[in-house]
């Protein structure tokens, strides 16, 4: 059995990259063949994923599955080592879906189409590589590879200030990713057995000081990506300057790399340091939510507003992963998936609006619902999903995180009450900026100065199809969350278990949840982490 096993993950990861290589020599006029080619490649990869995971992936196990290891550069210790578990499998699938839709959304790109699709396909491979890598050096390599196409995609096909935005993006993320390398190397070289394997790194015992230092390094690197306040300022620029399909990938997938890596490295590999830092993560999460919401409300540019809303929504992920509960972890992963779908939908729709208005300034729009009722309906649906309307995926993620932090037994009551209160203030702020956005763009009398042109006026079948592909899973997860959570909850439970097991006192299950007060001996007094005896 072992001998004939198909290397699914290698195939999934490398297919887009290899398929991208012949793009320069494909006979093509006006970029029409290339876009079909890219779409077929993306679909083939998506199909490969569905089939590969369907046949070989078991949702009942929290182990790495479909694992493959080949020695690549033994002199460096680098190996091509891939595997998926509950954390990475849904995110790989998300990348596949979003990137495929982004290619379909790029249908009208006619400026250097060969290069464009080449870069998108390289980006496709790199994203999957990041999520599937089981070797920290490989992970770093994939992380870096993904930056290059994004930089080029923003700086060539972006908006007016694209160079500034792209440079800022590359500077922030590239500088920050040095910390991954440094922390990773430190962990790899520590102790007797030298290894880059992530699972093995997690089993080593590190001295606390090293854990803390490595944790800070990872936190900075992934904090830029997620993003975490105050490392977020590249995001509104990059997301608003990138063209809509690239914004879809940026918001839909790349931000999730930050959340994924935080769980993978900061929590799984460095659980002792995580105990110390968890209260800080919670506090940063709350700042993200409220600060992001306010900056979003202050923006007058449609895409900048959506970009700031991403900052706000990713704050929930931070709170979830620092709650030390099954529910919180579960919610954090769900929030990542859900935000990936919702943000992609909203960015795509803002792109369809931009294609017609040629402006993103909301005060120059207004009354567009009369000309574009379908776009209006879809935009409303997306906004409702984003403001966590029940029946849509955002609600389930946020509710789980709320319940997680509310039932968490590691924080003092006052801390929890404060956090929950402030987080819920975010719930009031979200509809304010999203509904104002709808009001300014779509409601009211038609703005006579606004010229809508191109594409036919209202949303075309292709555009409706793309949005529907995103809205259907959003609503599906909202109606019955188990379709999503079942694919990963064994893993999140195991992660939560591992986080909690590091606490010196093992939490005794009691009948009611008031046991929080019984454990006060090691409760976290606010930002000072729980004492370890």
């Amino acid at each position: 059995m072992e001998s004939v096993q198909i290397p699914w993950l290698t195939a999934i990861t490398l297919l887009p990259l290899l398929a991208a290589l012949p793009i320069p020599i494909i006979p093509d006029k006006e970029g029409k063949t290339v876009r079909w080619y890219a779409l077929y490649v993306a679909l083939a990869d998506l199909a490969l994923m569905v089939y590969g995971f369907w046949e070989n992936y078991s949702v009942k196990s929290h182990q790495f599955q479909l694992a493959e290891t080949y020695s690549w550069m033994p002199q460096l210790g680098l190996s091509w080592s891939l595997g998926v578990d509950g954390l990475s499998m849904p995110l790989i699938f998300l990348s596949g879906l979003i990137t495929t839709l982004a290619i379909l959304a790029s249908w009208k790109v006619n400026h250097k189409p060969r290069l464009y699709y080449f870069l998108v396909l390289v980006l496709y491979s790199a994203q999957i590589g990041v999520f599937a890598a089981q070797d920290i050096l490989l992970f770093f390599l994939m992380w870096e590879i993904e930056l290059v196409p994004v930089y080029l995609l923003i700086s060539i096909w972006g908006g007016k200030k694209r160079l500034y935005a792209a440079t800022k993006f590359i500077l922030y993320t590239a500088l920050a990713s040095i910390f991954i390398l440094v922390s990773g190397l430190a962990l790899a070289f520590y102790g007797d057995n030298f290894t880059f394997n992530i699972a093995e790194l997690g089993m080593k015992d590190y001295p606390l000081a090293l854990e803390l230092l490595a944790y800070v390094g990872f936190l900075i690197a992934f904090g830029v990506k997620l993003p975490i306040f105050p490392l977020h300022t590249w995001l509104p620029d990059a997301h608003s300057q990138a063209s809509a399909p690239i914004s879809m990938i940026l918001a839909g997938v790349l931000l999730k790399m930050g959340g994924y890596a935080l769980i993978r490295f900061n929590i799984e590999t460095l659980p002792h340091a995580h105990i110390k830092f968890a209260p800080l993560l919670v506090a940063l999460g709350v700042i993200n939510i409220i600060y992001g919401a306010f900056t979003a409300f202050g923006q007058t540019n449609l895409k900048r507003r959506l970009a700031s809303s991403s900052i706000s929504h990713m704050g929930f992920v931070l709170i979830g992963i620092a709650s030390f509960t099954d529910l919180g972890m579960n919610g954090a992963v769900l929030q990542m998936i859900s935000h990936g779908l919702i943000a992609a939908a909203l960015f795509f729709l803002s792109g369809t609006a931009y294609d017609r208005t040629h402006t993103l300034m909301m005060d120059e729009m207004g009354g567009m619902a009369q000309k574009m009722p379908k776009t209006f309906a879809l935009f409303t649906a997306g906004s409702m999903a984003s403001l966590a309307l029940p029946g849509m995926s955002g609600f389930v993620g946020e509710l789980s995180i709320f319940l997680g932090i509310a039932t968490s037994d590691v924080y003092s009551q006052t801390f929890k009450v404060g956090i929950i209160f402030l987080t819920s203030v975010g719930l009031i702020l979200t509809p304010i900026y999203l509904l104002s956005m709808l009001r300014e763009v779509f409601y009211g009398e038609a703005n006579t100065k606004l010229k809508l042109e191109g594409f036919g006026i209202d949303a075309q079948p292709r555009e409706i199809f793309i949005t529907a592909c995103l809205l259907i899973p959003i609503i599906g997860i909202g109606l019955y969350p188990k379709v999503a959570t079942n694919t990963y909850d064994v893993k999140t439970i195991q992660v939560a278990e591992k986080m909690r097991s590091v606490f010196p006192v093992i939490v005794e299950k009691q009948e009611n949840n008031l046991n929080a007060s019984l454990l006060s001996t090691w409760q976290s007094p606010g930002l000072i982490a729980p004492k370890i005896k």
Partner: protein, 672 residues
């Protein structure tokens, strides 16, 4: 019978499927869908009818003593956490199902006439159907989370429907206001829900109630926390049922088409708050302070709503404040522990107020023939008058609703309001007095409305009043805002007309329960209380005291009649000049006219305040945070660019404040 219970989930699911079908049609085959308008609306009405028949079946079996039926499936889980969703059918649910489906069904028939010429006809039916679905889902919810889910969904439907005419600026603002105000309530509800879950580990009403009592009794949970949770939960109903101070959205929500005002903002959704209090009764009951707060909030709302309604000239706004006032009665009743009386009033109010709103819609429909499709003109009572001659069905049904809301014997409102007041008198004479006084105000403003609309001479062709109204609204919305509307101010007829059969029929059908439904709750044979009573409460067989009843009923009718007489003197016989009265008491008049200045205060503090704060935070983000991380902040500070900001001083100052605030939060939480 069992089959009926097994398939009870179809009641909310059928309208949802109908709405989905229409929605997909509108998005993908817009032209075809819009051309099939009559077929599709018949389809939606048919579905609503089916849901109504099923509801009646369930109601019938509940009356005959069928036990409570619950069915759930596991909806979400993580580790040890399991969350169930499903439905519960007990007496309360079956009653609400009947109320919601009957009103929804009749409103849908009415809509066919009212919206006949609207290009958004099919979309409107889709929204109506999805609203019915959410509301029905709400009333069958077996636990707090599911209630919260549907609670938000009805809020979304309200948002979509208030903003239905999206080209109107006022509608755009109103729908956002409705949603955000309701989110403030939901914020409380969510916090309360989390608190209760943290304390009791359950979302089930009964279990939370039991455990909460145990915990407070044993001292594991302080009474203060229990009260806090109860009050937080109550914030939900405060927003949804338009209680002071979160009532501001309801009058503005009248920007939506009138059928919606009848269905959502009078009969069903706004009553959801009262329903939630009823469901939460096992929990609230054990927290006396919360009950007192609920009762007082209700009384204040009843009074405030009535005083504002006194001076409204827009027929729908007047009815909206009246709704707010009546909801206050219900909430007060719940707070005083008169569970059955509160729900009884919910039911009678649902019928007569839905009818009153539909009547107002019929009036507006008739007026539009004369003054055109400008709500500023078509809804203003100063342009109406004498409509009884032109639209007799509307006038007489309105009069029936009027007598019912005023509490005149033997109309339905008499029995329910009298029961509330009677129990209030025993529980808290002060609240009784407020309620009693409000009853007088109610009678006054309702008959003022009736006289201004249906009696006297028709004033619709008076161009002078028209011009005045247009100028006034023009000033209110800013100069030039009315330009495009002015073209429409000319109707196609000189006199209003009675509405078509499909609008008149629902009015007549609603007049029946408005008159008669109160008879099930007569104090000497109270079938209603037998059917709907607080969980766990034992109905004491108190002997019916005729004297006591006569005194209480006499007092209520006396004040109502006084109100009617004053209204007659002022608006029918013109013996007293309302303008002179207004001049005599300018402060009171202005207070009422300006809605107690709630909107102005909120606008100043919350709307403008949050906008300014957002701008400042964004500026800080742009200049300071970004600058600091980029290290360019330093450079700008050193260069002349930075000096510019220093000189203006504002940016720096705001930055300082925001950072101090952030730092403050961090410090507070690290110390505690």
């Amino acid at each position: 019978m069992e089959l009926l219970y097994q398939y009870a989930w179809l009641i909310p699911v059928l309208p949802l499927l109908g709405a989905t079908f229409l929605g997909i049609g509108l998005i993908s085959l817009n032209k075809a869908t819009n051309s099939l308008r009559k077929t599709l609306s018949f389809f939606i009405v048919f579905i609503a009818g089916t849901a109504m028949v099923l509801s009646f079946g369930i109601f019938w079996s509940q009356i005959h003593g069928h036990e409570t039926y619950t069915r759930t499936i596991e909806w979400a889980s993580a580790g040890d956490f399991h969350l169930q969703m499903g439905y519960i059918i007990d007496n309360l649910t079956s009653l609400m199902l009947v109320v919601v489906t009957t009103v929804a069904f009749l409103v849908m028939i009415y809509t066919d006439g009212y919206m006949a010429h609207d290009p958004g006809y099919v979309r409107f039916y889709a929204y109506l159907s999805i609203f019915s679905s959410s509301m029905l889902g709400l009333v069958i919810s077996p636990n707090l989370v599911q209630i919260y889910i549907f609670w938000e969904l009805v809020g979304m439907c309200s948002y979509l429907l208030v903003g239905f005419w999206y080209e109107r600026k006022a509608a755009a603002e109103a729908c956002q206001k409705a949603f955000v105000t309701n989110r403030v309530g939901d914020f409380g509800l969510l916090l309360g829900m989390l608190g209760l879950y943290w304390a009791t580990g359950s979302f089930d009403f009964g279990i939370i109630g039991e455990r909460l009592q145990e915990l407070t009794a044993s001292g594991a949970l302080s009474a203060g926390l229990a009260t806090l949770f109860a009050i937080l939960v109550f914030l939900g109903p405060v927003a949804k049922s338009a209680q002071v101070p979160l009532h501001v959205w309801l009058p503005d929500a009248m920007e939506g088409p009138t059928p919606i005002s009848a269905l959502i903002h009078a009969a069903t959704m706004v009553a959801a708050g009262v329903f939630l209090i009823a469901r939460m009764y096992p929990i609230l009951e054990s927290v006396p302070i919360a009950m007192t707060i609920i009762a007082c909030t209700g009384a204040v709302t009843a009074f405030t709503g009535a005083t504002i309604a006194l001076t409204q000239n827009d027929i729908k706004k007047g009815l909206a404040y009246s709704t707010m006032s009546q909801l206050g009665y219900m909430v007060m009743a719940m707070g005083l522990g008169s569970y059955s009386a509160g729900l009884f009033h919910l039911m009678t109010h649902a019928y007569f107020k839905a009818m009153l709103f539909l009547c107002s819609g019929s009036v507006i429909h008739g007026m539009e023939a004369v003054v055109g499709h400008n709500p500023v003109l078509a809804q203003d009572m100063r342009l109406m008058g004498g409509l009884r001659k032109y639209m007799p069905v509307t006038a007489y049904t309105f009069l029936i609703g009027n007598l019912a809301i005023c509490g005149i014997f033997p109309f339905s409102g008499f029995w329910s309001k009298d029961e509330i007041l009677g129990q209030a008198f025993q529980a808290n004479p002060v609240l009784w007095f407020v309620g009693w006084l409000t009853a007088g105000l109610t009678a006054f403003y309702m008959f003022r409305m009736y006289f201004m609309t249906f009696e006297g001479e028709f004033r619709g062709n008076d161009t002078e009043i028209r011009q005045q109204l247009l100028t006034a609204s023009g000033v209110a919305f800013g100069p030039g805002a009315m330009d495009s509307k002015e073209a429409e101010t000319h109707g196609h007829s000189d006199s209003p007309h009675e509405s078509p059969l499909n609008m008149a029929l629902p009015l007549v059908l609603l007049a029946i329960p408005s008159f008669a439904v109160g008879l099930v709750g007569m104090p000497w044979s109270n079938y209603f209380e037998e059917f709907i009573h607080a969980p766990g409460a034992i109905i004491s067989e108190e002997p019916f005291e005729l004297n006591e009843f006569l005194i209480m009923a006499g007092l209520s009718i006396a004040i109502a009649v006084t109100g009617i007489i004053v209204a007659t003197l002022m608006y029918r016989l013109k013996k007293i000049d309302p303008n002179a009265l207004a001049k005599k008491y300018p402060t009171l008049y202005q207070l009422s006219l300006n809605k107690w200045y709630f909107d102005d205060i909120y606008d100043k503090f919350f709307v403008v305040g949050s906008r300014r704060l957002a701008r400042q935070i964004m500026e800080v983000d742009y200049r300071v945070v970004d600058g600091a991380v980029n290290l360019t902040g330093l450079a700008t500070l050193l260069s002349g660019e930075g000096l510019k900001y220093l000189e203006t001083g504002r940016a720096q100052f705001y930055a300082l404040i925001v950072f101090a605030a952030v730092l403050g939060f961090v410090l507070v939480f690290s110390v505690t």
